[in-house]
């Protein structure tokens, strides 16, 4: 089965400034993909290229095998949920949702019926006669979703659709969105800057930075095996350690406190990545781990766990401990940070 969306070598500039560089992406039918990255990373630009509101300078976009790179938006078989919903203010909710089928040439009665079905699917049956301005933000968001799925596109683009909702409502809509996606079997391409949202909702995350894709993969895979320093830093918390390459090819971290053997590590600048939960802090060294002598410089309680700052020479490490593991640790005390070298990953990128 061919992918529903295939992007090949896509590049886009704005006045000489590269906004997207050599984007390669393939989305399978029914997949839930999150486009994740900080603001200005190019994720919305990529979405707009796919929707047809921007024309890329290079590369191709294929939808279900058909090249749509140069097609205007209204000829592309996909739909979009816009960031601020973009509901037509002069039309009722039912008319808003029936707009898509009507433009496709569906007869009025049939379009009205499909609109009612779509509204029922998003839990807004009976709201058809209202105007968008008479609805709450969450309800408007559902209308935007109903309007976008009523034509049963094979691919749905969502441009930060939950960013205008408050936290509690957002959590609720997240799970509803996931259910609807599952039920319809439509591929979702979901733009967000919220890594937690991406982790909880998406089958795969496309992590973007400065107009490039840093890494594509399942959330837990990116977390466990970040491909770059940026990926390690953006997904979850990480201790990012400077790496010195010795003349014999081995690596030294934390001013020589840690030595890694010469390995087939990538060329160029490297960064050591160590997750805070992979550090055990104890008063005595733990067997089968590398025990680094440290000073406890700070303890911050965050409810379910505590964040402990440790000083090693001139560097600082952060460890995450369960509250029960804190017994006997106080600020200023000497302790040991016990790590496994297998938990320490070397990734490209300058620390």
């Amino acid at each position: 089965m061919s992918p529903i969306l295939a992007i090949d070598g896509l590049s886009k500039h704005f006045g000489g400034q590269p906004a997207l560089t050599a984007i390669e992406l393939s989305v399978e039918q029914g997949e839930f993909i999150a486009l994740l990255g900080p603001s200005g990373c190019g994720k919305t630009t990529l979405l707009r290229c796919i929707a047809g509101f921007l024309t890329p300078e290079a590369g191709t976009i294929r939808l279900a095998g058909e090249d749509v790179t140069r097609l205007p938006p209204y000829r592309r078989p996909l739909n979009t949920v816009f960031q601020n919903y973009a509901l037509f203010p002069h039309m009722s909710v039912a008319e808003n949702v029936a707009y898509g089928p009507r433009r496709q040439g569906v007869a009025k009665d049939e379009a009205t019926k499909r609109a009612a079905e779509a509204l029922e699917l998003v839990g807004l049956a009976g709201f058809g006669e209202r105007l968008p301005a008479q609805l709450s933000g969450g309800q408007q968001q559902r209308v935007a979703l109903a309007r976008a799925i009523v034509n049963r596109p094979q691919l749905l683009l969502l441009d930060e659709p939950l960013s205008a909702l408050d936290l509690k409502l957002r959590k609720k809509v997240q799970s509803e969105l996931k259910q609807i996606q599952h039920r319809l079997g439509i591929a979702f391409l979901f733009v967000t800057h919220d890594q937690e949202e991406a982790m909880t909702m998406a089958d795969r995350i496309v992590l973007m930075n400065r107009g490039r894709i840093e890494q594509i993969g399942r959330g837990q895979d990116i977390y466990a095996r970040p491909a770059t320093r940026f990926a390690a830093d953006f997904i979850g918390d990480a201790n990012l350690l400077a790496v010195n390459r010795r003349s014999d090819g081995s690596f030294s971290l934390l001013d020589g406190a840690i030595t890694l053997p010469a390995a087939d590590a990538p060329q160029g600048e490297l960064t050591g990545v160590l997750r805070p939960e992979d550090i055990l802090v104890t008063a005595e060294p733990v067997a089968e781990r590398l025990a680094l002598p440290v000073i406890v410089s700070d303890v911050v309680h965050v409810g379910s766990h505590a964040s402990v700052a440790l000083t090693v020479g001139g560097s600082t490490l952060t460890a995450r401990l369960a509250p029960s593991a804190l017994a006997g640790l106080s600020v200023g005390q000497a302790a040991f940070a016990n790590i496994r070298l297998s938990d320490l990953r070397l990734v490209p990128g300058d620390a």
């Binding site: 209204y74 973009a86 707009y99 105007l131 309007r147 976008a148 034509n151």
Partner: protein, 277 residues
């Protein structure tokens, strides 16, 4: 209580006094004059005289016809012009220049501009010279003293109102709505018909009503461009006040015109009203 209320009342009194002095009082004077004889006795005689006089009805017909045509031409030229300024011009300095070009004539006197059109539209004026030069006509065309001449003058003077009203409405249409429409499969023409035009309609109506009211009540432009051959209603009123000195009959004419204009505007507003207000 009264201590805090008093400054508020004082603040409200000023605009209220202004409103009474400049709008309500003159209106009342005209209305009362129209309902009384020269000696001050109440009467409906002036209105009966207007109703009975077919000449007045002919003039009213000419006036409203010119007003309606002026509005129509202003809409047909003004909407695309507003579209051009808001949607097509991307370079800000050029847009600003165009808007200034549009607004600056409003700062000059109607009389000066109407005289300008008299020169342009005359037998040997620029317009006739141009048309002959292009070979479109053989002999100079008559503009002065025709409804066409008055129409040209009024359209020129009133066009900015409709362009500004429509431009303002068009600028307020969220571009995201057009994206959403295109995303749902609407062609650019379909998007204009179903989204942009309906959303700009209130602005268009406001501009059209303004143009119509100003066109039917215009005096200077029709007076100068008619060359005495065409009479519009405002000239009749002017005659009563300035030549005949019959303020009562002039008042009745004014009120008649006001009522008819407002009635037409109300009907037009009702007809163009969206299904849901």
């Amino acid at each position: 209580m009264s201590g805090t209320l008093r400054p508020v009342l004082l603040l409200c009194a000023l605009p209220a006094a202004f409103f009474v002095a400049f709008f309500l009082a003159p209106m009342a004077v005209v209305l009362i004059a129209s309902l009384t004889t020269a000696a001050g006795q109440p009467t409906f005689a002036h209105y009966l005289r207007i109703l009975a006089d077919t000449y007045h009805w002919d003039v009213l017909w000419v006036t409203f016809r010119i007003g309606a045509l002026t509005t129509l031409v202003c809409v047909l030229i003004g909407y695309p012009l507003a579209w051009y300024l808001v949607r097509i011009v991307k370079w800000r300095p050029w847009r600003r220049f165009c808007v200034i070009l549009l607004v600056v004539p409003l700062f000059t006197s109607n009389i000066v501009r109407s005289f300008g059109w008299m020169v342009l539209l005359g037998r040997n004026g620029l317009v006739n010279d141009g048309l002959i030069g292009l070979g479109l006509i053989e002999r100079p065309m008559r503009f002065l003293g025709t409804e066409l001449g008055i129409l040209i003058g009024l359209v020129y003077i009133l066009l900015p109102f409709i362009v500004l009203a429509v431009g303002n409405a068009l600028a307020k249409v969220d571009p995201a709505l057009e994206h959403a429409s295109a995303d749902l499969g609407a062609t650019p023409a379909g998007t204009f018909r179903t989204i942009i035009f309906p959303l700009s309609l209130p602005g268009l109506m406001a501009g059209a009503v303004m143009v119509f009211m100003l066109a039917v009540s215009a005096y200077v432009t029709p007076a100068l461009l008619s060359g005495g051959r065409i009479t519009v209603f405002s000239m009749l009123i002017f005659q009563q006040y300035s030549s005949v000195f019959d303020f009562n009959y002039g008042g009745a004419l004014s009120i008649t015109m006001l009522v008819l204009t407002l009635a037409l505007v109300a009907i037009a507003g009702r007809l163009s009203e969206p299904r849901r207000a």
